[in-house]
């Protein structure tokens, strides 16, 4: 399992070749990229920051849970932090297994769950100002209650 936070461009080909092995029949990849606008407001660049130790712990736990829950063989999750330009990859998730169905399911679950609970934040810098992305509400099991 490859779980990383990086401050340099993500080498998708290297992640992909690292995640798969001879017994795999499928790899599903999610490549999340920086969009050029938010509702028409033109984005210049993004700044990602994280509670790094906790984010890595959470990502490792999610990877392990995906393997157990979906029965996939291997998972790679790499999130980039710092300054990202439009079109660059912010997150790469790759899931490998013998059969494709579970790799799609696990990949979708990983990105959806990461987005809700892994402590990473995005600041969007527009041509006319900057805002912290509002984020999604925390799930009930994480919220203060």
């Amino acid at each position: 399992m490859q779980i990383e936070l990086v401050y340099v461009p993500i080498d998708a080909a290297a992640v992909l070749s690292g995640v798969k092995a001879g017994e795999d029949g499928a790899v599903t990849v999610f490549d999340g990229i920086v969009r050029n606008n938010t509702k028409g407001r033109q984005t210049r660049y993004l700044e990602y920051s994280a509670y790094e130790d906790m984010a890595l712990d959470q990502m490792r736990a999610l990877g392990a849970e995906a393997i157990q829950r979906f029965g996939v063989r291997n998972v790679a999750m790499v999130h980039r932090l710092g300054h990202l330009e439009v079109g660059e990859t912010s997150i790469l998730i790759a899931v490998a297994s013998a059969h494709r169905g579970v790799t799609f399911d696990a990949c979708r679950w990983l990105i959806d769950t990461l987005k809700q609970q892994v402590p990473i934040w995005k600041k969007e810098v527009f041509v006319d100002g900057a805002v912290w992305a509002p984020g999604e509400p925390f799930p009930a099991e994480i919220a203060l209650g």
Binding site: Y51, M54, W121, K122, A143, L144
Partner: protein, 88 residues
């Protein structure tokens, strides 16, 4: 008790990266959130949406704090890439 408090996202713009509270008078996570809410009421709705991690574990409002804990105040997260549905 002595606490190390970490701030992230929009809270970092308001409070900086971290601070040490040498003699925090409260006992629980809820007390700590209330303490900062009083300092920065202008953050409004954000205070009802924050999560708190104590020593890197998400914790409930009722969770007790102990001397030396590292407590992080976490606004709703926005990692990943695609547009979230609550953006305005």
């Amino acid at each position: 008790m002595r606490l190390e408090v970490l701030f992230f996202g929009v809270l970092r713009d308001r409070f900086g990266e971290r601070e040490t509270l040498a003699q925090f008078p409260g006992n629980s996570v809820a007390d700590l959130v209330r303490y900062y809410r009083v300092i920065a009421p202008e953050l409004g709705e954000l205070w009802s949406s924050v999560a708190v991690a104590v020593n890197q574990q998400y914790s409930r409002a009722s969770a007790p704090l102990q001397n030396g804990d590292q407590v992080a105040l976490l606004p709703p997260v926005s990692g990943g890439s695609f547009r979230n549905i609550h953006a305005d």
